[in-house]
């Protein structure tokens, strides 16, 4: 395990893994935009097919995708049901006082597929891009904002420091939990007050440690001449290759096609 395991990054070396993170971020955005604008059935079907091919190319086992879908099936079901009974149109059948319409079914299906596409698209992005690369990609894409005096590099420093210390915090929290358990703290007590008190015994030490850490880090950074300079090394490792350009071009083309066909 070489990288920070925040999120659901799955290590791999597929074609999709090797794409520049910016390509994946841009493509994801373009797909979501396209599908928001044009939701004709053939368009949605086409994109669903596209994403399925991408999942296949990424080498991520389908059962992992299905397992993650289980988390949102409530949402999908609810959406479908609400759309079918609340849309005005040609009635197909009656369930008590509720009317199911043909337009409702069409809209419901369409919305479910759109949600699916959003979810699968972003899941694929997170599963095939390491957190560091993702942060670098986002920072690179947001760099033009510095011309508008938005401190993009400060945000990236914040994200970078968080990535650096999340595993350390988790480890410390585990140690402190065990230490307090060794003094009788009950973390799984049925009494909610006891549970809250026990958690306070973890939170306060963690906070105190963070304050000390912040002070120490600031001194260490100053000692190495930090003045708010952006982190170039991470961004300089990102490179656009031919396949990146082609893919982005393809997505753009699809978007235009979708926009034009929606009229």
């Amino acid at each position: 395990m070489k990288d920070v395991m925040v999120g659901r990054y799955i290590i791999g070396n597929s074609m999709i893994h090797r794409l520049d993170p910016r390509t994946k971020l841009i493509s994801c955005t373009l797909i979501i935009t396209a599908v928001l604008i044009n939701y004709r059935w053939y368009f949605l079907l086409f994109y669903t097919l596209l994403i399925t091919i991408a999942i296949f190319l990424s080498g991520i086992k389908p059962k992992i995708i299905f397992r993650s879908l289980r988390k949102i099936w409530y949402l999908l079901l609810l959406t479908f049901v609400f759309q079918t009974i609340l849309t005005v149109g040609e009635p197909l059948m009656h369930l008590g006082s509720l009317t199911v319409t043909r337009q409702g079914i069409a809209l419901g299906t369409g919305t479910v597929f759109r949600l699916l596409i959003f979810y699968l698209c972003s899941s694929l992005l997170i599963m095939t891009t390491s957190t560091i690369k993702l942060a670098a990609g986002i920072e690179s894409l947001l760099t033009p904002l510095t011309y508008f005096k938005i401190p993009v590099h400060h945000f990236s420093m914040i994200i970078s420091t968080s990535l650096r210390f999340i595993p350390t915090f988790i480890e410390e929290a585990n140690i402190i939990t065990n230490a307090q358990k060794s003094r009788g703290a009950q973390f799984d007590s049925p009494n909610i007050i006891t549970r809250i008190k026990s958690n306070i015994a973890i939170i306060i030490p963690l906070l105190a440690a963070s304050l000390q850490r912040a002070e120490d880090l600031a001194m260490a950074m100053e000692s190495r001449c930090y003045t708010g300079h952006p982190n170039q090394t991470r961004i300089s490792k990102l490179n656009y290759y031919k396949k990146d350009v082609v893919l982005i071009g393809f997505m753009l083309a699809l978007l235009f096609a979708g926009v034009s066909f929606s009229f």
Binding site: R164, E171, D216, L217, R224, Q232
Partner: protein
């Protein structure tokens, strides 16, 4: 004159304590004058509260003296335009290995300093390779720092400072959180950096066992210089050390006891095998 040394000239540092009427001032350092030459290996010793950490932070301009001056290779630490260069020349490694590593990847951590200096990308890449090789962490270049052992983290910290090509390296109690192996490797490393690369080492500690390889020792107590000299001399004065709660390394306590009974051991004896040899010689006379 003063181009290749760090000079403290009549330095006093006071802190104001408390916010209400009381004008409580704590004197952390009291009229200190000290010179550290390039290439030296100095041990700075003292109990907690002696002022040693304050002194360390004065050397690279993290804090400024209340009165007096600190000059680094001729540059005054109070002048803002020199601060960048001072901090490049005087590198600092801290006690807690975790709390000085900023970036989530080893390679990026080493690049942090050079990037702040505004160096070109190829130069940074070259230096990263070099620094990794010096501390022996080449295989861990893509790793996340939290996966490293304590000793490896300190090596990373050293590499992150070395990469800026400093003339002086301040180690602020670097081994107190390491296991014996990590500590041994650290001390060996510093010896090599001092001998072969000529980097001045300023090693701060309250554990005298760490400082046997130093050229010179400076003992602080309550903000003043209490004792100074080569290790052997300082270790010999057990009474004075004990008065402020310090103990010479075990080997030297033994040598001191033998000396009291009239059996003088040579000045250059620093290790167990050397002492054993010396005793054998004495017993065969």
């Amino acid at each position: 004159m003063t181009d290749h040394c760090i000079e403290l000239v009549n330095v006093t540092k006071t802190y104001r304590n408390g916010s209400d009427a009381g004008n409580n001032e704590k004197i952390a350092l009291n009229d200190i004058t000290l010179t550290i030459h390039e290439g030296e290996y100095i041990g700075l010793i003292g109990m907690n509260g002696s002022g040693k950490s304050t002194l360390a932070r004065l050397l690279n301009g993290l804090i400024k003296p209340t009165t007096g001056k600190v000059n680094v290779n001729g540059m005054d630490t109070r002048s803002p335009k020199h601060l960048m260069e001072i901090r490049r020349i005087v590198g600092m490694v801290f006690q807690n290995p975790d709390n000085q590593i900023v970036c989530p990847v080893v390679e990026e951590e080493i690049a942090f300093g050079p990037e702040n200096l505004g160096l070109a990308s190829d130069e940074i890449k070259r230096r990263i390779d070099w620094a990794l090789q010096i501390v022996g962490l080449e295989e861990l270049r893509d790793h996340a720092p939290h996966l490293l052992s304590g000793g490896q983290k300190q090596k990373l910290a050293i590499a992150s400072v070395l990469v800026m090509l400093p003339n002086y390296l301040i180690m602020d109690e670097p081994s107190s959180m390491l296991d014996p192996l990590g500590r041994q490797e650290l001390l060996e490393h510093l010896r090599i950096l001092n001998n072969q690369k000529g980097i001045a080492i300023i090693f701060i500690s309250h554990n005298l066992e760490d400082l046997i390889q130093a050229d010179r020792l400076v003992v602080l107590d309550k903000g003043s210089i209490y004792l100074q000299g080569i290790p052997r001399e300082v270790f010999a004065d057990e009474a004075k050390l004990a008065a402020i709660g310090l103990e010479p390394p075990g080997l030297y306590r033994l040598i001191n006891k033998l000396g009291k009974d009239g059996y003088d051991i040579d000045d250059h004896i620093k290790t167990v095998p050397e002492l054993v040899e010396a005793i054998c010689h004495l017993s065969l006379r």
